[in-house]
């Protein structure tokens, strides 16, 4: 049941098996209404998530990426989410220099019992992505775009001191 009246966007969600996946399941069992734009990828632990998974998703056309794991101190593997927190925070801070809107990526913690919280997170994030609209594509889509890009690249526009 879509919460928005507009076209669906592509949002990728990386959820930890032990908490957030369970939380999403709890929300489903509780029949909470959720937007359907999110595609869930279940991972064993948020520590398994290489920030490059997020980058790859964004570069390949995802409009938003949501990562959710266990709350700090609740990790099934004791410390996976502590490493994840450091990596994901750096990724979030790094995105602006690439020109990808950092609001398209978010990470958070949802436990298996927090169905309500999951509903809130997924609704809020989906709404944010809808406000941002579809993400721009890194690759040009047509032959004409390619040629325009190649021309611009050959002129080396953009950085005043690097040509």
């Amino acid at each position: 049941m879509p919460a928005q009246d507009s076209r669906e966007l592509r949002i990728v969600g990386f959820l930890c098996n032990w908490c957030s996946y369970g939380g999403a399941d709890t929300a489903g069992v509780g029949r909470f209404i959720q937007p359907t734009d999110l595609r869930v990828i279940r991972v064993p632990c948020s520590g398994r998530i290489d920030p490059l998974f997020v980058v790859r998703a964004l570069m390949n056309g995802a409009d938003g990426v949501l990562v959710s794991g266990c709350h700090p101190r609740d990790c099934h593997y004791s410390e996976g989410n502590y490493y994840a927190r450091r990596r994901l925070e750096l990724l979030k801070r790094f995105l602006p220099i690439t020109g990808i809107d950092e609001r398209r990526f978010e990470y958070t913690w949802v436990s298996a019992s927090e169905g309500q919280r999951w509903q809130h997170v997924v609704t809020e994030f989906t709404r944010r992505i809808h406000e941002l609209g579809p993400a721009p594509l890194f690759n040009p889509v047509s032959e004409a775009d390619w040629n325009a890009l190649a021309l611009k690249a050959s002129q080396g526009l953009g950085c005043s001191c690097h040509g």
């Binding site: 410390e79 020109g99 890194f138 190649a150 080396g156 526009l157 040509g163």
Partner: protein
Amino acid sequence: MSQLDDLKAAIKDRLGELDCVIGWEQGYDALHATPLFIRSEADLDRLIIGPLAVHNLSTYLPGLKGKKVGIVVKGCDSRSVIELLNEKLINRDDVVIFGLCCDGVVSQRKIRAALSADPGFVESVTVGADDLKITVAGQNATLKLADVKADKCLTCQHPDAVLSDVLIGAKHGAPALASLACQDEFEAKSDAEKFAFWQETMSRCIRCYACRNACPMCVCRDYCIATSRDPLWVSQENSPTENMMFQMIHVSHLAGRCTECGECERACPVDIPLMLLRRYMNKQVKDVFEHQAGTALDQTPPLFTFKVEEERIHERGW
């Protein structure tokens, strides 16, 4: 005695106990230096130092692990050596560090831009106190050293080797912290402008991996995920996306480890300003973890560890 003579004497002293000492010599023309592997006293005659000796020679150290090696380092290079030591990629006992007090090195790209025609083969270069006299195709040109200094030298915080067994020359001390105008200008641009910039720039990338190969902290060698087929992170397609993806791999694997030696940017044959990404990432690392790679021994890179309570990561409430 000049710095070079001091250095030669110091190397001569230790050469007997070492398999080789890595320094610089003149390359294919007077403007370009090339790495020199000194194995005997005769090789010492070819050694050069100064603003033309730009390479970060610590790139060679992990490959020579287990051998007794001497290395000549500038301030920035010594940071790479420290980072390699901290990550246990080399052994301290196997390395003899000849540290220099560096006055900065030149940027070949800036020299090329400052000369009226493409220099091609440069016949002679005279390095003065604050200028370079270049003879190319029978014509003389004088360039101010300050104008052709590499970007990294403009904001250098460690002109003297941070770690060394022998320190050559007079210490400069740490200069005031300055930021790079070009970096600030780029960071102030809008998302759309930056996005368009990388689209254009990355469509120019030929994915030759020179940036990776010149990087002293890229130590995966044959196991780099950018060139592996299993897992397949980057396809063979030469598109801006795939090229940018490769750079994202490079930056993320250097998060908290990059010592900003600028070798990636220098090695790039199509002049992609890769340091824009690296400097920005390093700024974030410093901001969140108060960490600067290679500035002290026995630091752990911030992504190799964690704290249960992170002081500087403020989780956003939902």
